[in-house]
Structure formats: C-alpha cells, structure tokens
C-alpha cells in the first residue's frame, strides 16, 4: 500500500529500488541515502518490495529518514515489473534506479541530477564498483575484475556504448524518456537481462548513453553472488538472451548458438550441444564438474579453472536459452511482436583525404560500419556491431590506433595520410 501524498514543490529525483527478501541490504542502502549531499527534500525513495518472505516492509516503516520514503508492495514477479511499478508511482521528473545491493557514495544523486540538468534526454549510467577484498579466490577475483573492467571501459572517452552497457543497478533517465521507451519489458520475470533489453531500445532510438563517473557506488556482489548462484544467473541470462534475440532480429546472429560443423566439439560449442541434446542428463555431471573447481583452485591451475568454469557456465547459459526459446514458441501470444529489422549503414573512408577529414566525416555521418581505403587498397574494415551506438570519430581513432594499428603502421610507411 503506497502512502498517498501530493507532489512536493521541489522534488527532483525519484529513487526506485526493487528488493526481495533482502531487508539487510535495503537498510544499508537507505542508510547511505541519508548521507547524500543532494538536499533531502528534493528526492524521494521508493523501495518496491516484491513478494517478500521476510519483514522488509516492517523494517522500512520503522526506518527514520530525512527524505520522503514511500515503500510499495507488489506481487508481480521479477525486478522489471517492480521497477515499472516504482516508475509509475514516482513523482519526480528524474528516475534513478538502484539495486538493493549497492551502497551509493554521498555524491551519487547529485551527480545524476546535475548531469540531467539539460534539455538533452539520455540514459545515465553510474559505476558501482565491487569491494576489493584481500583474497586469492578465483571466482571472487574473476567477478571483481569483470565489474571493474566494465566500468573502466565505459569511462573511456572513446568507448562505443552498446545495449549491454545499460545496467539497471545505477541508472537514471528522465521519466518522460522512460515512458517513451515503454519501460522495462514485462515478460522477463524468469529472465535476467531486462536492462539489456531496454538497452537495445535505447540504442535503436538513438538515445545517447552517458557514463557518470561521479555517480559512483559500491556493489556488495561479494555478499550476494556465489559460484553456485553464478550458474543460476547464467541460466537466467540465457533465457534473457533468447527473448532479446527473438525480439530484435539484428541481434539474433550475435546471440544464437554457434552451431558450426557437426564434428566441431570445441570448448565453445560443446556446452551448446549438451544443453540442446541432453539438458537434464547433463545436469548432474555439470554439478559434479563444479565440485572440481576448488581442487583446481587449490593447485593454482588458473587456466584449467577458467576453462572448466566457463564450460559449466556455458552449459547453464545455453540450457536457459533453449528452455526460453521453447517457452516463447509455446506462447499463444508470444509477448511483444518482433521489432522490424534495422539496416546498419556502412561508409567508405578514404584515408588519402587525411585522417582528420576522415574523423570529421564519421562524426557527421555516424555510420555503423566503415571500410577504410588507402592508396586505392582496402586496408581494414570496422564491422557493424548490432546493438551498438553508431560510430563517432573518437571510436574510429581508437580502432585505428588499436585493432588496426599493425596494418596501418605497415601501410603508413609509404605515404603520409596524417594531414
């Protein structure tokens, strides 16, 4: 039951936090929100308590805050529904979605609010860094480094944003943009990746994605994520990928299983075959194989550990993918109809015109793919990346200096294209 209230005059930000049976985490988050530099009378917090089995609601109601705290109870399953519900009840123009296992830094809300203090509509992503524990645990290290690399890459000025950068753990956008996008997908209750699905729509509409380094938070993933849970998540992510690939045809090739040749039993393909041909039979062996991981870790066999871990994870991911594909096909009304295919534009760039001119042209035309010609020869191609923002000059500069560096360095010896 939501507390009725009229919209305060100065309210600027609605913070929406979906939560389920994690009162301890939510209270820590609320505690951190009490320390925000942003004036407490200018933001409200809406914890959306989903099908709770603990006393989350009672604890929230007992919690004393300087900001407006308006908990919402919902029975609809899934974080996507909870976020949509929170957004529908939000009274401010700016929506800020936080996961319940993040601890915002004191300047987080202010950073989001000041970034959106412009006419431009965009999606703001704040980093939520993992806590650095003193550990040599392979899973912890792998998880920590994955998150760190993700945010470091997003923070680069020459980063090309894709739909997979849209993460709902620390995300902000104007309420009218959220409504125009249609909110989070309603059919992701059994899936993970509802934020990625939203990300595809963000990129398709040409809405910019911005990284907001000052809107930082800490992520308590070391308390919420375990090796076992990572396999559960892989299965849910596989389900989400199935939904995304059915909805957006341009992403289907990237998310589809790598079938390859029938005799190809590579590490990448074997989990696909097992998940497809013997999903239930392989469940026990997959669990047994997971018990091998601590042994490999004890012997410091990093490569073997990584190989086995990704094999098991791959099995669960593809198992989720095929399960969801069957479910989609069985649905009489298979959710949202598939979107139209979008055509990705390719541009031919003549480096003979000079590098600066080439970069200006990319900034002007924003192509999805580029063919680079120098001295009458094609010396490189930047392929289209489905679900990625169109290319900018900065992206091209980085690709020329990175992936294509050796080709260009060899080619550049016989002529000066640097004008």
């Amino acid at each position: 039951m939501i507390a009725p209230c009229t919209r305060p005059e100065f309210l600027e930000v609605s913070v929406i936090v979906p939560t389920r049976n994690r009162a301890r985490f939510l209270l820590r988050l609320l505690d951190a929100l009490r320390a925000q530099t942003f004036p407490a009378d200018r933001f409200e917090v809406l914890p959306v308590v989903n099908a709770t089995e603990d006393d989350t609601m009672e604890q929230i109601l007992r919690f004393d805050t300087p900001f407006a705290l308006r908990p919402i109870e919902t029975d609809a399953p899934g974080a996507a529904s909870a976020r949509n519900r929170g957004a529908s009840e939000a009274q401010a123009d700016l929506l800020l979605f936080l996961d319940d296992d993040v601890i915002p830094s004191p300047g987080l809300i202010e950073a989001h609010a000041s970034a959106h203090d412009t006419a431009e509509r965009f999606v703001g992503i704040g980093p939520y860094y993992p806590v650095h524990l003193r550990t040599v645990d392979f899973f912890r290290i792998a998880t920590r480094n994955w998150w760190e690399d993700l945010f470091m890459e997003m923070g680069r000025p020459d980063h090309r944003f894709t739909y997979r950068d849209v993460l709902s753990g620390n995300l902000s956008m104007r309420a009218d943009l959220f409504r125009a996008l249609g909110g989070f997908a309603r059919d992701f209750a059994a899936c993970d990746g509802e934020d990625w699905e939203l990300g595809v729509r963000v990129v398709r509409r040409g809405v910019p994605v911005r990284f907001l380094p000052e809107a930082r938070a800490h992520h308590l993933e070391h308390e919420t994520m375990t090796l076992e849970r990572s396999f559960v998540r892989a299965r849910r992510e596989g389900r989400g990928d199935a939904r995304i690939s059915r909805r957006f045809p341009e992403l289907e090739p990237a998310l589809a299983p790598p079938w390859g040749k029938p005799w190809d039993l590579s590490r990448r393909r074997a989990p696909v075959l097992l998940a497809r041909c013997a999903p239930r039979t392989c469940e026990a062996p997959a669990r047994a194989l997971a018990r091998l991981l601590p042994l490999l870790e004890g012997m410091r066999m990093r490569r073997s550990w990584k190989c086995v871990y990704h094999f098991i994870r791959g099995y669960w991911r593809w198992r989720g993918y095929f399960e969801e594909m069957r479910a989609i096909r069985a649905e009489r009304d298979s959710g949202t109809p598939s979107e139209e295919t979008i055509v990705l534009e390719e541009t031919t760039l003549l480096l003979d015109e000079g590098i600066e001119e080439a970069l200006r042209r990319v900034d002007r035309e924003r192509p999805s793919a580029v063919r680079i010609i120098h001295g009458g020869r094609a010396i490189g191609t930047i392929s289209a990346v489905p679900g990625a923002e169109p290319l900018r000059g900065a992206h091209l500069r980085r690709i020329l200096g990175g992936a294509l560096a050796d080709t260009l360095a060899a080619n550049g010896e016989d002529g000066d294209w640097s004008r």
Partner: protein
Amino acid sequence: MSSSALDFDLMSPLPAIDLSEKHARAFVVVRYLGRPVGAAWLPAADIRDGGESLRETLAEAGGRALRLARLEDRIGWRPVSPLDRPASPATVGVCTRDRPEDLRRCLEALRRMPDDGQEVLVVDSASSSDEVERVAKSVPGVRYLREERPGLDRARNRVLREARRPIVAFTDDDAAPEPLWLRALARNFEDRLVLAATGLVLPLDLATDAQEWRERLSSFARGFERKIFEAARMSPAAAGHVGAGVSMALRKDAADRVGPFDEALDAGTRTRSGGDTEMFARILAAGYRIVYDPEAVSRHRHAPGWDEARATFFGYGVGAYAAWTRLLLFEHETTVLGHAAAWFFKHQLPALVRSLLRVPGSAPADLLWAELRGCAAGPFAYFRARAENGR
C-alpha cells in the same frame, strides 16, 4: 670488452659522436620524439660513419615499437595519457644504505622532474655513517627517515607506511630516473585493477666488461612496448618478467590488499634479492595487474668490478629461489615448480654448456656458476632470514 652507452632520437639531427677509441661497440638506445622504441649493440665504426645508413640502422632497431609510435603520433591517439599532462600526486621512495655518492646522483635526477606535487622520501637502511643523512638533508624538499635494522624490504614497507600520496614510486639509490619517469609510472594507475607499474631501466654506463655482461645476461629492460601482466595470462611464479624494484610504483594501499613486502627477502638480508619479484607475484595472484611502461625511463649504474658482478649474479640466484620458496610453501603457488625447472633446463643449463664448450659469444662460466650456487642456497637462506626476522 666494453661499450659506450649512447642515445639517439630519430626526430632530431644526429649529434656529433665522440666514441672512445677503446670501445669497439656501443649500446644505442633509439627514441622517437623522446619515446624509447628500441636498443641495439652496434659496431663503433657504423656509428662513427653516421649519416643516413646509421639512421636506417636505428630505425630498424626501433622495429614495431617505432612503427606504432609513428602511427599513434599521426592519428593523435594513445592507449595511455600523454606525458605532457601532470600525473596524479605520488611519493618517490629512495631506499639507501652506505652509498652517499649514488644517492646524491639519484636525488639530483629526481629534482629534474616537473613539479606534479610529488614528495621525495629517503629511507636510510641502517647506514654505518651519517654521510647518507647529510646528503639527503642537503637536498631541498627531501624527507629523511632512518631504519635501524637493515633490509631493503623493511625500508620499502616503511616508505609505504610513511607516504602521503596514493601512488608510491620506488627507485634504488644507484639509479637515476629521467625527468618524466614518475609521470609515466603514475599514469598507469587510472585502471583501478593496476596495483603496480614498472619502467624501462637502461645502463648508466658500460665502461667495464663486468657492466657489459651484467647488461647482456640480466638486463632490467623488458622491451619497448607497454605490457599489461595479469595472472589470467601469466603465472605469478613468472613475476620476474614484469620488471624490477629499481623502477617500480605501487598503490599505497597495496600492503592492505596483498600484504606488505616480505622483510626476510632482498638486500640487507641473507636472501640478497627477490623482494620485488615476490611482491609482484602476490599482486598477480590476487588478480591485480602490473603494467610495464617503457616510457618510464631510469638509468642504473651497474657495479663496475668483476667480483661485484659475481656477487650480483649469486644474489639473484639466492633471491629468485628464496622468493619461490615463500611462494610455494606459504602462498601454495605450485606453478613455481614448473617455472624453476623451465628456467634451469631451458636457460641456465644450455648457457652453462655453451660456456664450458667455449662457444663464441657465450657468457662467462663463473657468472653462471655464481647464479646456480645462489639458486641452491636460496631456500636455506630464506628460512634463516625468516628465523632472524622472528617469524
């Protein structure tokens, strides 16, 4: 056998070269707009001739690193921040013991760095006279601290504790960093997973045979391209490849994340070296990264005497095996066994055989023996050093 140590920038006119008649060769560092891109041992005659053929030889020595440097210059893109920008504030720690003249040269080199708000800390590791203190205190802006018990790793830990900046760079007292050394090291910490950075160390001079063999057999240089090391791609047991403590930087909180330097290791203890490598190994094992940045240039004075060279190689052997002993027994890094075997069978044994067969160009056998004797002594030295340290 001895050489001249020279430095050429391909984008500057080649200077007049005054090669000493007694040097048949020169160790030449090649740069492109100040950025080191290669090095080569060249016959003195080629250098005296100079001209376009020398420029071509130098460009060849630059190789891929030169081509990439040119390309990055042309397209105006670098994978790291350029060096004309101030770096985040850092502390420079100089650990020293009874080498006042070396310390003076090192501190003079540090004074040539641009002012990015760095602090310089000298830790006197139980010197026997007050000469080191006098030299340190004669240089403006230097903070002097004294450790009463010897031990390079003990002094390094003191620097980490006393530093007032988030990045802590270390140079040995017998090294002379170039003016942009600190900036180049510090810029690598923009990646939050980078816990350490190392730099390119070139010889200060190669006036004696001992110095030349030291450079040929056990150079501190790790190439001219920036490298990022992590355990996902390289075993922590191979941490010797990432660089050396003579030119390294760590985050101040490195000790909190992976533990402090092991005070039973390195100079001033029975183990003689290995403290830096062992720390690098723990950093890698904890999943953090170490960046080798060849634009962080420092010059090291190799000891000129043959006895000193022999002692150096013996010390490297002791330190390597002492560090591996700790990694194997206390960090459970079983990959040490494979690396020790590979080092012996792929490098040490073939080098010794070539030397005993007097193959032209092979290394002096006494230096190789010294290293092998050191390896054998390493594990025992480590346990004795631990016992003396009260652990």
